[in-house]
């Protein structure tokens, strides 16, 4: 299977199956979206009382991942760690792709995304964390895109110079006709990539802080309220970034049938230790949240939904076991035994766990307080918290588009690590 999907061998059937299934997912998402436009947005929501569900949780998941990837990439660029520079192109590309599809996720959730673009500029509300988040993330996308362009310009210039006809035209257009291959131009690219990298990190961390503040500021939602989420989101971003980068790198190498060796292998195992450490910090954060939450009578009811309520299965199984505990053990074991497969398994487990965790934290936060004039409990008013089918379709479409972009990126852009 691995060798069959080789992207180098574009005519292999497995490659076409992969691309077609991604396109099928996108069609499914498109269908759900068109249906919501033709009928009503209601088909995307399981309750009017819980307006932020999977679309928002997916947005949080993707933008947190993007910031995490930016953090990991800046270790090489901004902080000058030469080893990390090896993976910077792939890392920044993933950061760009995840932020773009994260933003698409939230745009599809908004009632009028077109107005957001206009009124964010004309009538900004500086007191609103959503305004800050939107604005700072817009700048972040800009700087990440600029950083990526400078990182791959040389590679694309080489491709433009070595190809002919249409391919040459497209590549030279992508580098804005700067097909210079001299060492000076490379040095210049590095300089500008670093400047853009520093700005992307500053804007990324600030935007991420305001993302946490969107939840932290809402005094009327006791579960979210407080400084916990702005801080926790930053640390969870870091391990999400590691999970994305490790899994994407290993899968790409496996699919291409290339061996992970030398500097890259060493780096991956070093990353796995830091990754395990960050997961431990994340676990500490979670225990703090649960412990102190139970002591606060206003929050205790929401916390109990996670511990022993409708969210107990996703919490204990996905968030704690699959998302934290098991990956820590697997990572340490894999680092000790030098097994690349272990790193991949742990990273994918963390991504699944975090995806579920984002949904849990969002929906649990919205359950209490719930207005009921006759004093009915929230669990009676909203009997099921499972996402609706149409919403799942849209999310599937977004992931289809994300994976397709990455696959095409790996195929057409110079993202290869220079191991020599």
């Amino acid at each position: 299977m691995d060798s069959a999907i080789r992207t180098g061998n574009a005519k292999s059937p497995a490659y076409y199956i992969w691309i077609s299934s991604l396109i099928a997912l996108m069609v499914l998402g498109g269908y759900a979206q068109i249906m919501s436009l033709l009928t009503s947005l209601e088909i995307m929501e399981f309750s009017l009382r819980i307006p932020w569900t999977m679309m928002v949780s997916n947005y949080v998941f993707l933008v947190v991942s993007s910031t995490g990837l930016c953090i990991v990439s800046s270790l090489g660029h901004v902080f000058g760690m030469k080893r990390y520079e090896l993976l910077s192109k792939r890392c920044v590309f993933l950061a760009l792709v995840t932020i773009i599809f994260g933003m698409s996720s939230i745009a599809l959730h908004l009632g009028h995304p077109e107005r957001a673009l206009i009124y964010n500029i004309i009538t900004p509300n500086l007191r609103s964390p959503i305004w800050w988040m939107g604005t700072l993330y817009s700048f972040y996308i800009l700087f990440i895109a600029v950083e990526f362009w400078f990182l791959v310009r040389m590679g694309m210039a080489k491709k433009a110079n070595s190809s002919t006809d249409l391919k040459q035209k497209i590549y030279s257009l992508m580098v804005a006709r700067k097909t210079d291959e001299t060492p000076e131009s490379l040095k210049n690219d590095h300089k500008w990539a670093r400047i853009a990298g520093v700005l992307a990190l500053i804007f990324g961390l600030s935007a991420h802080n305001t993302l946490g503040a969107v939840f932290g500021h809402t005094e009327a939602r006791v579960f979210w309220y407080g400084p916990y989420y702005p801080v926790y989101f930053l640390f969870s971003a870091a391990f999400c970034g590691y999970a994305w980068l490790i899994s994407a790198t290993i899968i790409t190498y496996k699919v291409k049938g290339k061996e992970i060796a030398g500097k890259l292998k060493k780096l991956l195992f070093e990353m796995s230790k830091i990754f395990a450490l960050l997961l431990c910090i994340g676990l500490l954060f979670t225990s703090y949240k649960l412990g102190f939450g139970l002591l606060n009578p206003a929050k205790a009811k929401s916390i109990m939904l996670l511990l022993n309520g409708p969210f107990s299965l996703p919490f204990w199984l996905f968030e704690i076991a699959i998302g934290s505990l098991l990956p820590i053990i697997i990572l340490l074991y894999a680092a000790y035994k030098k097994k690349i497969g272990g790193l991949l398994t742990a990273s994918i487990m963390v991504l699944i766990g975090v995806f579920v965790m984002r949904f849990d934290f969002l929906v649990v936060g919205e359950v209490y307080p719930m207005f009921s004039p006759m004093g009915k409990d929230a669990l009676v008013l909203v009997p099921s918290f499972f996402p609706v089918l149409m919403e799942i379709f849209v999310i599937a479409g977004i992931f289809g588009a994300l994976f397709l972009s990455y696959t095409l990126g790996v195929k057409f852009l110079p993202l290869e690590e220079e191991l020599q």
């Binding site: 959503i130 990190l201 503040a213």
Partner: protein
């Protein structure tokens, strides 16, 4: 000469600090500044639950009528098309004490929803009503999350959040539609100060509780309850302004401290590695 420069600089810093803080916190408060401010009052002890206020609201605001609201004592909740609901509430301590409650936007004096709307689509008008500009609303539903009473509801067809406007397009010339429609005088509308005095007096008479006097920093819609909102199973709002700007700054500052800590850790990590690399290179 030197003294003059220092003074000017200080003045400049003062000016800069006050204007920027003022701008960022939204210093102007039309609700407090206006001499003619209005309020609405509901007396649950007088309400007979006829729901004429609900129908009048729907007629004036051209909202779709649902079948549910015709079934008198079934619980109805606010939606994008039902800006007022009337429900039968029961006192938890005294199960026989039943009263109808007219539930709608409380029109907070310092509304949390207006403070979080990213595009300033929500405004507190000088007359008192809190109004959503439907042509500006982007449909993010953050106002719903921030509202202590969970009032602004999403209209799935119009794709915007909607709620009671206290009929801002007819007051003060004509009273709000619901108030005009009430056959027993359970609803009242007038100058806020007069309404507040009247409400306090009536609350004392019935020995009840005045909802909205202190909740969420005070609201321009007041309700006379027979007992506390806790006993009636209603959402209990804190007796202070919800989402104060200084509190928002406090929480954001924690986030920035976290970001600085993370950056510091990254810096330390990068330095350690470099030293180790240099050492290994030296050994080699």
């Amino acid at each position: 000469m030197v003294r003059r420069t220092t003074k000017t600089r200080r003045q400049f810093i003062k000016f800069f600090a006050t204007t920027s803080i003022g701008l960022s916190l939204g210093s102007s408060d039309p609700a407090e500044a206006s001499p003619r401010k209005y309020g609405k009052l509901h007396d649950t002890t007088k309400c007979i639950g006829c729901k004429r206020c609900v129908s009048a609201c729907k007629r004036w605001n051209k909202l779709k009528i649902d079948r549910d609201e015709e079934l008198t004592d079934r619980e109805t909740d606010l939606t994008g098309k039902s800006w007022v609901v009337v429900n039968l509430t029961r006192d938890k301590r005294n199960r026989e004490d039943l009263h109808y409650q007219h539930w709608t936007c409380q029109h907070c004096i310092k509304p949390a929803c207006a403070g979080v709307c990213p595009v300033k689509a929500i405004k507190k008008l000088p007359e008192g009503p809190v109004v959503i500009d439907e042509k500006k609303c982007i449909g993010c539903r953050y106002c719903y999350q921030a509202c202590p009473y969970k009032v602004p509801r999403f209209d799935f067809e119009k794709r915007v959040t909607r709620k009671c406007t206290m009929c801002h397009d007819r007051i003060p010339r004509v009273k709000p539609a619901c108030v005009t429609a009430c056959p027993v005088g359970a609803l009242d509308f007038g100058v806020k100060q007069e309404i507040l005095t009247k409400a306090r007096k009536r609350t004392e008479e019935v020995g009840g509780y005045l909802l909205g006097e202190h909740e969420a920093g005070g609201t321009d819609f007041l309700t006379i309850l027979t007992t506390t909102p806790e006993d009636l199973g209603l959402v209990v709002a804190p007796k202070k302004v919800v989402n104060r700007d200084l509190d928002k700054l406090r929480i954001t500052s924690y986030g920035f401290s976290g970001a600085s800590l993370l950056t510091g850790l990254m810096y330390m990590y990068s330095r350690t590695e470099e030293e180790e690399t240099e050492e290994t290179e030296e050994k080699e």
